[in-house]
Symmetry: C2
Subunit: 378 residues, 2 copies
């Protein structure tokens, strides 16, 4: 079949034909019927695999809102395998299928870079919650900014949110540097996290100060350096020596520490703490989403002993923000123990708990929604 | 395993260990070894599917540079299935695997929206050709612009290339509206096509005029309208009534027909011809990449008879550009017949042939590289 004809047919197929209360997930590609989300939060997945012996749905991660274990799918007479899960936790969940041992994406899903590859993902609406929806309010732009890094010897891409009206105005803006988690990349905060819509909506409601948000790739191996897990020296060099000067040279920024924040989720939160607390002449605000160090935290010694003189710390730092989901026990416990130690030491900080969510994007959307309005208040 | 630990391990695995002349494809996700491209253009694909009975590599489309037919893959003792294809045509090729009847993406590949879903894709370098590489030259930005469409009743996203220096200057720029093909979306021209790097490189070499390039989604169903293949009435209304006014209100544009072009590939080229030639008060330049109408073309009657008065057409239109790849016979033949008819009628136009390439992105990269320098010359 000729490609144009095939595509013409394709473009009119896969129309949703849903007889019940279920809706095709908003995370699907256009016109893909499955997966679909039922009114009660259950999810039905489907994959055509006519000749497969075994097909499973695998949620991504041990505390995924779809559950932890793989679901066996059932084969129908038409070669489609289906499964309906118990009610899922609201938010965004990575998943994939396992077809006779092969880890594969769902052709019906848009793809989302996580787990070091392009994964399927499903969006489960949260009833009554619309702070990350795309609404008919003024929208900022998300810009792909390419820059050349001498540190890594490679071209890199950062995503940059500029607030509504940026192009028409002459104001200078504060900047939030906002990092993704391990296995994700610079696309995560907007594609999965909807950070741009969260900011758009906060700004429309005048609940946050207009700001630029810079989302870089958190992986940066120095020239000749082999990739190592959680070694942030390359990223630190890129951020301090290359990215911040590039951003300040490219955009109308308020280029001083009072108007610069560093935050991130999971690995990005570790970076915010490790790199940010080391560079308090660069950042006055630090946010760690689902990244408290837990039992390893020593209020006197951790992070170069930055908390040991709490008076000096409190004078210098405008905001230290720590958050976690209540369902990600390790991080929730880490948050509590760090909070207790900081309180005892007299280190000012803010904490946030996301009720019922785990190490997932709903925790981080809510974290940003709590964190952003606190930023850059004089 | 806890997610952070799993991801830490993940981040240091999959390091390329290539003993021969082959290199991991630039279209792979970071650290994925396969697919890999050999010096002679052969490609080795690999997928782990321990329990599968049959695994095939399927090139996307009948004139794909990997070939047309599915390749059977061979199972190794480790559960990995591999195949090495004959030398591939340079450029970008969609592909997927078929695992016991399931159409699935390659976890090693970045994903590319085509064929109505997220597909795998492989980049085959063309020797001595670097016009679409990311080089150390000033880069424009690619901006995601969200806007609300009354025509479709939905939020839409257009990708907007602004040339290097846009933010710092006060100049106004001409605008090229550049559309993707069927089954693709507004991301195609930059992700697959590398349009931004093509423009960056042309501008650095002073071979093109600085311009804004707007890449919208070509699918637009009016409120209440069911999707229909190649019905462009919704897109026409969005483009003329909503997108162009939005672009002219948002960016520093030269907002007149002389400084506005409409072009596209395949379905996008059909849109450029059908919509553009109908709106010559809006566009002075039209470019159709791999979209000539072939035998149906009637120089007197087609496109509302716009060519019937060639003198008037020549006076009004600054550039009509038509191109195709020599290996996409249907379109190459269509190009020749349209060219002959237009010549006979005395209608000025430019033609372009991409040597040895088919209905694929290499044809369209080369088309843009030929087309863009001709634009907005006074």
């Amino acid at each position: 079949m000729r490609p144009l004809l095939a595509l013409a047919l394709l473009s009119t197929s896969f129309l949703p034909l849903l007889a019940d209360d279920a809706k095709s997930a908003s995370s699907n590609v256009p016109r893909a019927e499955y997966p679909k989300v039922h009114a009660d939060g259950k999810v039905t997945f489907r994959l055509k695999a006519a000749d497969a012996k075994k097909v499973q749905l695998q949620p991504g991660g041990s505390d995924n809102g779809l559950g932890a274990k793989a679901f066996d799918m059932d084969r129908g007479d038409d070669g489609n395998w289906t499964v309906t899960t118990p009610a899922a936790v609201p938010g965004f969940h990575y998943y994939w299928f396992v077809v006779d041992g092969a880890i594969v994406s769902d052709p019906g899903s848009e793809t989302y870079f996580g787990w070091g590859r392009q994964c399927s993902g499903i969006e489960i609406p949260e009833k009554g919650v619309d702070f990350y929806d795309v609404k008919d309010v003024p929208h900022g732009e998300v810009r792909a900014l390419w820059y050349h890094s001498k540190v890594t010897g490679k071209a890199r891409r950062a995503m940059v949110y500029t607030p509504p009206g940026y192009d028409k105005g002459t104001d200078k803006y504060p900047v939030l540097y906002l990092q993704h988690g391990a296995g994700e990349d610079e696309r995560g905060w907007t594609t999965q996290g909807k950070a741009n819509f969260i900011l758009d909506n906060l700004l429309a409601a005048k609940k946050a100060k207009p700001m630029i948000v810079v989302m870089d790739n958190g992986y940066a191996d120095k020239v000749g350096q082999q990739p190592r897990g959680f070694d942030f020296t390359g990223f630190e060099a890129v951020l301090i020596e290359e990215l911040i000067p590039k951003i300040d040279a490219t955009y109308r920024t308020q280029a001083d520490r009072d108007h610069r924040a560093l935050a991130g989720l999971s690995m990005g939160g570790m970076q915010a703490l490790q790199v940010g607390l080391k560079h308090l002449d660069t950042f006055a605000t630090i946010g760690a989403f689902s990244a408290p160090p837990g039992n390893q935290f020593d209020v006197e010694k951790s992070y170069g002993g930055v908390f040991s003189d709490s008076a000096a710390f409190n004078k210098k730092v405008k905001l230290l923000w720590l958050g976690a989901g209540t369902a990600e026990t390790r991080f929730a416990d880490g948050l509590k123990s760090m909070h207790t130690a900081l309180d005892k030491k007299g280190v000012k900080h803010a904490t946030f708990e996301s009720d019922g969510t785990a190490h997932e994007w709903q925790t981080w959307r809510r974290s940003l929604h709590d964190f952003a309005p606190r930023l850059f208040q004089e």
